[in-house]
Subunit: 102 residues, 2 copies
Amino acid sequence: MSEIIKDNMPDTELLFELADLFKVFGDSTRIRIICALFEAELPVYGISELLGLEQSTVSHQLRILRQNKLVKVRKDGKQSFYSLSDEHVRKIFDMGLSHIME
Amino acid sequence: MSEIIKDNMPDTELLFELADLFKVFGDSTRIRIICALFEAELPVYGISELLGLEQSTVSHQLRILRQNKLVKVRKDGKQSFYSLSDEHVRKIFDMGLSHIME
DNA sequence: TCAACAAATGAACATATGTACATATATTAG
DNA sequence: CTAATATATGTACATATGTTCATTTGTTGA
């Protein structure tokens, strides 16, 4: 019986990856950055200014977002412009929001 | 300009709540428990057996899931049967999955 | 009432994580 | 080439988090 359940479940490996993805969303600084990027493509100092955060804090968090492919960068001169990499990000965000709102 | 962006963003308060929600999904043990509950309503020992986890580990994590209203309990004798509290949980889960799969 | 069982809880501990400060890298302007 | 600016990175540190072990609570059956 528990064997049947186990067989229907995705690989544990995959579930670890999934947890890692949600971990990225599970920090208020990163969520706020993501949310800012819904509105516009922004450079690092733009984000830190907007959210009142240290430049290095933003940069560190952007690296994590980059590594997880949630944001992409476009370099222009001295600036790095960040934007969201795809629509999944917004969907995941919205799903979470509607759970809270219920 | 950054004022306009700020005005369009949800309250910071709400974004903190949202991060807290995703934090719950951001742990492999909890994700695995959630995933098991997609298949069936289960008692605590059933989950620990299925996933190979200590009873107390499962119980601790179920408490967190309960506090965040992701699971609900039905008590029957000595046992506590857990199940998912709503469909949002599955939707959030699936959204995450499809991001990984892409 | 007592033993057996299921689940919940408390405390301690090791590990992970986010932030700040300092510094390095890279690019542009002069 | 140098100074100024934007970003990235390294390190240290405080805090948060998950797990384990031990114990408690609650329920059933003898």
